[in-house]
């Protein structure tokens, strides 16, 4: 077991093929993946991530509301003392916004054309980092 990941689709966007594909690929790479489905609120996502004690949250957003949604996710994580959970994103997100989101703490943004291998390597790194911090793995 490499780590525990929550994959969610926040906001008003029902195109979940990408999120499901990533969830399945993470499963095949040895992760335990909680998939929470479409049209989730930031509150639902953060509350679920805390109860499941996940290492990484992955959000798929194709609606254009990424700046607002990521800001709210970070606000809630901080408010509930869960700032150690790594957050990554994927979807249709313009280059200037990627720079803004990375500066705000999103660990990576994947857009169409990103390689699966590159994503898996990042999830492994982030999950390992979080689990070491939490004392769940020692190596």
């Amino acid at each position: 077991m490499r780590g525990k990941i929550l994959i969610a689709k926040p906001g008003l966007d029902g195109h979940d093929r990408g999120a499901k594909y990533i969830a399945r690929c993470l499963r095949d790479d040895g992760f335990e993946v909680v998939y929470t489905g479409i049209r989730r609120t930031p509150e639902e996502i953060v509350s679920s991530a805390i109860q499941e004690d996940v290492d990484v949250i992955g959000l798929s957003i194709l609606s254009g509301a990424h700046l607002e949604i990521f800001a709210e996710i970070f606000r809630l994580l901080k408010e509930r003392g869960a700032g150690d959970i790594a957050v990554v994103g994927g979807g249709i997100i313009p280059e200037p916004d990627i720079i803004t989101l990375r500066a705000a703490g999103v660990r990576a943004i994947f857009t169409p054309g990103s390689s699966l291998e590159e994503m898996l390597v990042l999830f492994r790194e982030l999950a390992g980092e979080t689990r070491r911090q939490r004392g769940l793995i020692t190596s």
């Binding site: 499963r27 805390i50 499941e52 004392g135």
Partner: protein
């Protein structure tokens, strides 16, 4: 890591501490043992309700209806949901929570998804311990949803004081009902999707099967909530009459014995796993394997020779 502080916080109802304690217990090993030493044992298994049945029978959807009822009561509701770990890839999709997202922000509902991690009995090795942690955090009752099972996978009987087994039309005829399986350990049998064609034939087959040992069939429809009130009534009745069947007769001896065996195995399994986990190299020479088997025998001796 200060285990005493984590336990104190979870007993105050701190969800972050509870979630962390569960992760520690799932990881196993000496830290998990040290933590569990400080967690009170379950006061009563009547507070643990197992939900089991075939994949797609509607366990998660029906549990959604039950959570809605129990969350209105005084105490928190705990839910432990087990989904299968891939035997090839070692990963898992934990897809039960998606049925319960309307409860995600409810302060009265605590949900934790677990992967089976190699266990074949329908729950994971850590499940019994996770239930104890939820109970210590004030959850009454704690529902445990198993992996989709049927003909094998009755370990839930060792963990829950009350087992609800679901079936649905389209999963098999009366011969299937006669086969051994989760029906053997069920205190309540639920015929879900009772609106579908084939429900009345299934009801007859179940009734014929239950004739041999007593027990009650409740028909439900998790989509419109039909039968849920009756199911809640039956669950509450059984929780308050621990050790008795719905007919008021004492639980029959062979089922009780089977339950004791399952319970003993559930206690033993994490200890064996913890011992194996301390041995870093699994590419073992024969001498080491012999030593591990001897240790496994030692571990199990107090149970086999009480």
């Amino acid at each position: 890591m200060n285990l005493t502080a984590i336990i104190a916080a979870l007993q105050q109802g701190d969800l972050r501490a509870l979630a962390r304690a569960i992760s520690i217990v799932e990881a196993g090993g000496a830290t998990a043992e040290a933590l569990l030493d400080q967690v009170p044992l379950l006061a009563s298994k009547a507070d643990v309700v197992g939900i089991t049945g075939a994949p797609g029978a509607g366990k998660s959807s029906l549990l959604d209806c039950l959570i809605e009822v129990y969350k209105q009561r005084d105490s928190r509701v705990g839910v432990v949901a087990v989904d299968p770990t891939s035997s090839v890839h070692d990963g898992a999709i934990l897809g039960d929570r998606i049925r319960w997202m309307r409860h995600a922000c409810s302060p009265n509902v605590v949900i934790r998804s677990l992967a089976s991690r190699g266990s074949l009995g329908g729950v994971s090795a850590a499940t019994a311990a996770v239930v104890r942690l939820l109970a210590a955090a004030g959850c009454r009752p704690v529902f445990v949803e198993t992996v989709g099972v049927g003909q094998i996978g009755s370990e839930i009987a060792g963990i829950a004081g009350l087992v609800v087994a679901l079936t649905a039309p389209g999963l098999g005829d009366d011969i299937q009902m006669m086969k051994a399986g989760v029906l053997d350990v069920a205190d309540l049998v639920v015929l879900n999707k009772a609106d579908l064609p084939g429900a009345s034939a299934l009801h007859s087959a179940l009734a014929a099967e239950l004739e041999h040992r007593g027990g009650r069939i409740i028909s439900t429809n998790a989509i419109d909530g039909g039968g849920v009130a009756e199911l809640v009534g039956a669950i509450d009745e059984l929780r308050h009459a621990a050790g008795r069947t719905p007919n008021g007769h004492p639980v029959d001896r062979s089922r009780l014995e089977a339950r004791i065996v399952e319970h003993s195995l559930a206690l033993l399994r994490p200890r064996l796993r913890a011992r194996l986990a301390t041995m870093a190299n699994l590419n073992l020479p024969p001498d080491d394997l012999a030593r591990i088997l001897a240790e496994a025998h030692e571990t199990s001796r107090p149970l086999s020779n009480p």
